[in-house]
């Protein structure tokens, strides 16, 4: 598969969205709504759950599957309120010593008038700063699209994993093509140049693991991922200096 085919696969509506991961990997998930400031952003689903008996905080970007769901989820483009809800839940996790697991799938943070008025940039910036300093283990899994700052705002983690066909990029290939090549139809070329595949990210040391998509969406797939996540959270916990190492992880880039 070339880079642009990966982009199309990552965006495909056939892929399981974040809610499928939450429902199949965890038990007793309780969703918590709202940023306690202005509103509840449907693009971000967050709450507490049990991972094989371990209490965890789960935060995810949900794109929605049906037309109605997609509208409700704003196609997985979070507003400032969504990032602030995520931060509220992360701070809550820190208070109660719960590890944080995030599932990222977004074409990017929402580009709207209201989002600007309510500080999309500020919301992302604060998340970056606070996640760097959060006193509990954080694991992020990019399950589809990892669109720029809107994805990074939930992916400042001790470990970042990508699904085999997920992509992670500073700008969409279409956006890059229209700015740099003055032609949005050159997205295919731009996708190659941006080095946005999971293999690229792994080769640059930007992620720790690629998740095999074999049997994607089946019980077998989710069970396998659940046990990998559990093992990894325990291993981060064992490292007393994980917060220092999280700083060093990003400091190296």
């Amino acid at each position: 598969m070339n880079a642009y085919e990966k982009v199309r696969t990552a965006r495909s509506s056939d892929r399981p969205t974040a809610l499928a991961y939450i429902n199949n990997i965890f038990s007793s998930f309780i969703e918590f709504h709202g940023d306690r400031r202005a509103k509840d952003d449907g693009a971000i689903v967050s709450g507490i759950a049990s991972l094989n008996g371990m209490p965890v905080t789960v935060i995810a970007i949900e794109k929605g599957r049906t037309a109605a769901e997609r509208t409700m989820r704003n196609f997985g483009s979070a507003s400032p309120e969504g990032y602030r809800k995520a931060l509220r839940l992360m701070k809550q996790a820190e208070k109660f010593g719960r590890p944080v697991i995030t599932f990222v799938d977004t074409s990017g943070a929402f580009c709207g008038i209201e989002a600007e008025e309510r500080g999309e940039g500020e919301a992302i910036a604060v998340n970056l700063m606070e996640m760097m300093d959060l006193n509990v283990p954080i694991l992020s899994v990019l399950i589809g699209e990892g669109g720029s700052g809107g994805a990074l705002a939930l992916a400042v983690a001790d470990r970042v994993w990508m699904l085999e066909n997920a992509v992670y990029s500073v700008i969409s290939p279409e956006g890059c093509a229209s700015i740099l090549f003055k032609d949005s139809k050159k997205a295919k070329e731009a996708a190659e140049c941006l080095k946005l595949t999971a293999e690229d990210a792994l080769s640059f040391g930007l992620i720790e693991r690629i998740i095999d998509e074999n049997a994607l969406g089946t019980e077998e797939f989710f069970n396998r991922l659940a046990s990998e996540i559990e093992k990894e959270i325990l291993s981060i916990k064992e490292d007393r200096d994980y917060k220092e190492n999280r700083y060093r992880r990003f400091r190296a880039f």
Binding site: G121, A125, L128, Y168, C176, C193, Y247, F250, F253
Partner: protein, 278 residues
């Protein structure tokens, strides 16, 4: 109070004042369209209508501070991804701006107080942030932390530098980590947003300061205007993403005219108990 006549066009599309054809010693104000003698707008490069022309990074260093001592200038950008045209763009940017990168960093004095400073250069690939810009700013915050110095930074940037791919995105997290450590030590960070401050810079260290100042009329935002128009199919409100708009929305502490900036910075530093060196 200065009255700004906002125009709908995107400030990012203008390549700065140098591209407006006019006689050598004259300059046309893009706000009031008056032709001014270049000498008359000095020293602050502001029009009588209140318009602030863009300044080069080094001009700011000498306008508001003394004894600017540059650090980390040995860092030079490389074309790690072999991105088409990047090498040439770097060459051009270096020639156009007379700088090696989109940010200069170091220490400087303001009214006898020593501070760590960074100045972004919009003439260098629109101040975009790649590995080197992120590294220099991170090292500056780490230096300021170990020397217990306040940081004063001037932003001017189109955002992350896409020619460096994901590495440029990671700079947002890297710098944010260093800002947080500096902040956790009780140290002061003041940012001055200048035209334009957008994208990944807005979504990281531009919005992480203890005190956020801005120059009048500066374009400040996360997403580009064209992207917002395309996404929402709505007409953008007058003055959208201007400093005055951001102030109203609650994201800026104070808009400061260039002629008052040195005084304002000095007063803030004094109120934070920053000692003078003798």
């Amino acid at each position: 109070m200065i009255n700004f006549n906002f125009k709908p066009e995107n400030e990012l599309e203008k390549e700065g004042i140098d591209n407006i054809p006019s006689p050598e010693d004259e300059i046309v104000c893009p706000n009031c369209h008056r032709t001014e003698k270049k000498d008359d707008i000095l020293p602050f490069k502001t029009c009588t209508c209140g318009h602030h022309f863009r300044l080069k990074a080094r001009e700011r260093a000498f306008l508001f501070f003394s004894d600017f001592s540059e650090m980390f200038q040995e860092e030079k950008s490389e074309d790690v991804l072999s991105f088409p045209g990047y090498k040439e763009k770097l060459e051009k940017a270096r020639a156009l701006s007379s700088e090696d990168e989109s940010v200069i960093t170091g220490t400087a004095m303001i009214d006898g107080m020593r501070v760590a400073v960074f100045f972004m250069e919009s003439l260098f690939m629109m101040g975009s942030m790649g590995h080197v810009a992120g590294e220099k700013i991170t090292r500056l915050f780490e230096f300021a932390l170990s020397n217990r110095l306040p940081v004063i930074g001037f932003t001017a940037s189109g955002g992350a530098r896409m020619q460096e791919g994901l590495i440029s995105l990671m700079q947002m997290a890297k710098v944010s980590g260093a800002v947080k450590r500096h902040s956790n030590a009780g140290l002061l960070y003041i940012v001055v947003l200048t035209d334009p401050t957008t994208g990944g810079v807005t979504a990281s260290f531009a919005m992480e300061a203890d005190i956020i100042l801005s120059e009048p009329g500066a374009l400040i935002g996360f997403a580009g205007k064209r992207v917002i128009e395309q996404t929402t199919k709505k007409e953008l409100p007058r003055g959208f993403q201007k400093a005055e708009f951001l102030l109203k929305c609650g994201f800026i502490d104070k808009i400061v005219h260039r002629k008052d900036l040195k005084y304002t910075l000095k007063e803030i530093l004094i109120l934070h108990g920053i000692n003078k060196e003798h």
